[in-house]
């Protein structure tokens, strides 16, 4: 796999814009780019960490929140996905699921090396799916891994339409994470989500996908109102387990129905026998309306 090194954080707004133009042009690649994007010596800006923590409900503490390194990999993901060599159009990609494993507490002061690549480009009942994989290392030691699964509706992937494992696109065999059982029962928390939440998270994450920003821009993309970022919802849910999780654990989430803004939602948590936590975010008025299901534990 070819390695391309980036110096500095990419600016995502222009990338989204050029990807939007590129989406309608012919001549897109049909296989995943055989490229790994790398940024070395990345440092965390304390102000940015604090802003992120505030928006998502984390403490500004001695360790980075488990979802924070996703922001470091996300920029590289967008660079990879916005390019013409990527087989799926970036606008309209739907975040289906996300898995994060943190191997130890990561101090905000550490120098981090970030790698991102794409794999598992396969058919999905509704189109094609792909995994964007990120890895964060400190002094050569992997400390964090993330796998974001996206769906391109109506797109087609090469190979077996029945889905399954990778098909020669460079992906390893990775077990499909089974969706955690939805915890039920009384809510642990009621969330009152303001209309500008998408803009607030966009400001700290760089994810300026128009579906999250304004009612009008969301309507243009087929949503009735702006919707919350999936990774905000995932971050807010795991932040609620502050103090209950070990330093090293895996956080799996599956995104279900879009969480419209503004709205009120409920967080439900349940402790498993193995000490892990199942979480769900559901509608405050309609408990059947599930926005996110997740599991955090070893």
């Amino acid at each position: 796999m070819a390695v391309t090194e980036l110096h500095g954080a990419p600016s995502l707004g222009p990338l989204y814009a050029s990807a939007a133009v590129g989406a309608v042009l012919p001549g897109r690649a049909t296989t995943l780019p055989d490229t790994e994007l790398v940024r070395r010596g990345v440092t965390v800006d304390p102000g940015h960490f604090a802003d992120y923590a505030r928006v998502c409900g984390f403490r500004v503490g001695a360790a980075l929140p488990v979802t924070y390194p996703h922001l470091l990999t996300f920029g590289l993901q967008v660079v990879l996905m916005a390019g013409r060599s990527f087989p799926l159009p970036l606008p309209g990609l739907v975040h289906l699921a996300n898995r994060i494993t943190v191997h130890r507490a990561i101090a905000p002061s550490e120098n981090l090396d970030v790698r991102v690549w794409a794999e598992r480009f396969t058919a999905h009942p509704k189109g094609a799916r792909v995994d964007l994989v990120g890895e964060v290392a400190a002094s050569g030691e992997p400390v964090w891994e993330g796998r974001s699964t996206y769906l391109a509706r109506g797109a087609s992937a090469p190979g077996d339409p029945g889905g399954g494992s990778g098909d020669g696109d460079g992906g390893d065999e990775v077990a499909e994470p089974s969706e955690p059982a939805v915890p039920t029962g009384p809510a642990s928390a009621l969330w009152r989500l303001p209309g500008d939440l998408g803009r607030r998270y966009a400001a700290v994450s760089g994810d300026v996908n128009p579906i999250h920003l304004y009612p009008l821009t969301a309507k243009a993309m087929g949503f009735p109102r702006a919707i919350a970022h999936g990774m905000w919802t995932a971050a807010r849910a795991v932040a609620a387990l502050e103090g209950r999780l070990p330093d090293a654990f895996t956080y799996d989430v599956v995104f279900r129905k879009p969480l419209l803004l503004p709205s009120t939602a409920e967080l439900v948590t349940a402790r498993d026998d193995d000490g892990g936590w199942r979480v769900a975010v559901r509608g405050a008025r309609d408990a059947e309306r599930i926005h996110l299901v997740g599991h955090a534990g070893r």
Binding site: G185, P186, A187, S188, A189, L190, W191, R192, A240, L241, R244, T269, A270, R271, W277
Partner: protein, 444 residues
């Protein structure tokens, strides 16, 4: 340190009548009410110019300018300015926790006398700046150059004028105290009728206590009030039954404005001292502080804390007293029935009933409290016999001082009339899933 420390004496108390928010005390601040209440106490016990060991009090709804609220009250009072003071805050447990703090120092011989209690104004509540505006202003204050300042001014937006409206909600759950209590009431099957009956009894008992002059030595009139303005002497369970539920949803909702405490303004303080200090000042001792316990529960996630097959998934926000009391009983080899009087803070009628129900539930007591069986029942006739928060109102930090002074006075009355030693139990629930409990005793 002595093997067995002496016990601090409760010498007396003083409070102002409690007022429903935005009424009689609408223009009074925490500092106004606390200073007034302290001066009333000083006058009653002839303490003008005295240097006391310390004054400890607090407020739950507190302006940032009031960081030294209690010390400011002392400086404005007739006490010697050389009296030290500090603030405590443990939500509705503040007043009792302050009492425990002062009583412990007296027990250890570090001080000979002290005043404890609290104050709260729901009328003069702090309203915070919009957080975005606040952050810009903080940076503006720290900015060193005009360019920097101009850039920050450019961040100001009209929408930032909208202030942060204070919410009576738990930060981690987003649910109000009433919503939490409604959930717990439902889990424990606390009925509407028993809640309304408890509320009516609270009004009846408080009215009777006023009528017989019980509060003559416990209260200083303030801003035209001589009684708590929430008190309805003619309240009845039938009348309360007509009110619509305000917490909880659907046909199972049982909690109304009548069986829940209203937002209230007020202040209450207790005078504590060693027996020697009381004797030197020729002041009678009402009761002694025997011991206290504070418990906390995981009302947020809870999962797994109970027996796996138990019907409750998490502990209720206001149920920590359920756990604190048996720990205290254990330490003193007492049973729940070894008390002459009980004061269980009526944040909501259901909160009192949940505690009683839990102690009567043998399975719960075995599985969660580690007891052989149920702790048993508490007689209605021994509970909150001079009324409690449902009738008097509940200015959060003031409630502990009201209850300690009330119970100590009641125990003294009974000890004098029945010529037997008296023992009383206090349980006060607090936001954050905490509960403060204490034992008072009076020798005949």
């Amino acid at each position: 340190m002595p093997a067995s420390p002496r016990r601090a004496a409760v010498i007396g108390g003083n409070r102002i009548p409690f007022a429903r928010a935005n009424r009689a005390y609408a223009n009074a601040t925490d500092l106004d009410m606390l200073t007034t209440t302290l001066d009333g106490l000083v006058a009653r016990f002839g303490l003008a110019g005295e240097r006391l060991g310390e004054v400890v009090a607090g407020a739950v709804l507190k302006h940032s300018r009031d960081f030294n609220l209690t010390r400011e009250a002392v400086l404005g009072s007739r006490l010697a300015p050389a009296t030290a003071a500090y603030d405590v805050q443990q939500a509705c447990g503040t007043g009792l926790q302050a009492t425990i703090a002062v009583a412990n120092k007296i027990a250890l011989g570090q001080i000979e006398s002290g005043v404890a209690g609290g104050v709260d104004s729901a009328s003069d509540a702090p309203i915070a700046l919009n957080d975005d505006l606040r952050r810009v202003l903080v940076k503006l204050n720290a900015a060193r150059s005009t360019t920097e300042r101009l850039a920050l001014v450019g961040q100001l937006r009209p929408g930032q004028i909208v202030p942060e409206i204070p919410r009576n909600a738990e930060p981690r759950t987003g649910l109000s105290m009433g919503e939490h209590a409604a959930r717990t009431a439902l889990e424990w099957g606390i009925g509407r009728t028993e809640q309304d009956e408890l509320a009516a009894r609270s009004h009846r008992n408080l009215a009777a206590a006023y009528d017989r002059g019980f509060f003559d030595d416990l209260l200083t009139p303030y801003l035209g009030l001589t009684r708590d303005d929430n008190l309805r002497p003619d309240s009845s369970a039938d009348k309360l039954a007509t009110l619509k539920p305000v917490f909880g949803k659907g046909p199972d909702a049982t909690m109304t404005a009548g069986n829940s405490t209203p937002l209230t303004d007020g202040a209450a303080l207790v005078l504590l001292g060693s027996d020697e200090w009381a004797a030197e000042h020729r002041l009678p001792v009402l009761a002694h502080v025997v011991d206290a316990e504070t418990a906390a529960v995981d009302y947020v996630h809870g999962g797994g804390a109970r027996g796996a097959d138990h019907r409750h998934s998490t502990d209720g926000l206001l149920t920590a007293g359920v756990f604190a009391v048996p720990r205290l009983l254990e330490r003193h080899g007492l049973s729940l029935q070894d008390f002459d009087l009980y004061e269980i803070h009526e944040a909501f009628a259901s909160v009192v009933q949940v505690q009683r129900r839990a102690w009567e539930d043998a399975r719960f007591c075995r599985e969660r409290l580690g007891r052989d069986g149920a702790l048993g029942a508490i007689d209605d006739g021994r509970l909150n016999v001079a009324g409690s928060s449902l009738a008097a109102g509940h200015p959060f930090a003031a409630t502990g001082g009201r209850i300690v002074a009330t119970l100590a006075t009641l125990l003294r009355e009974r000890a004098d009339s029945e010529k037997t030693d008296q023992r009383g139990l206090i349980s006060i629930c607090a936001a954050g899933g905490q509960g403060v409990v204490a034992i008072l005793e009076t020798k005949a």
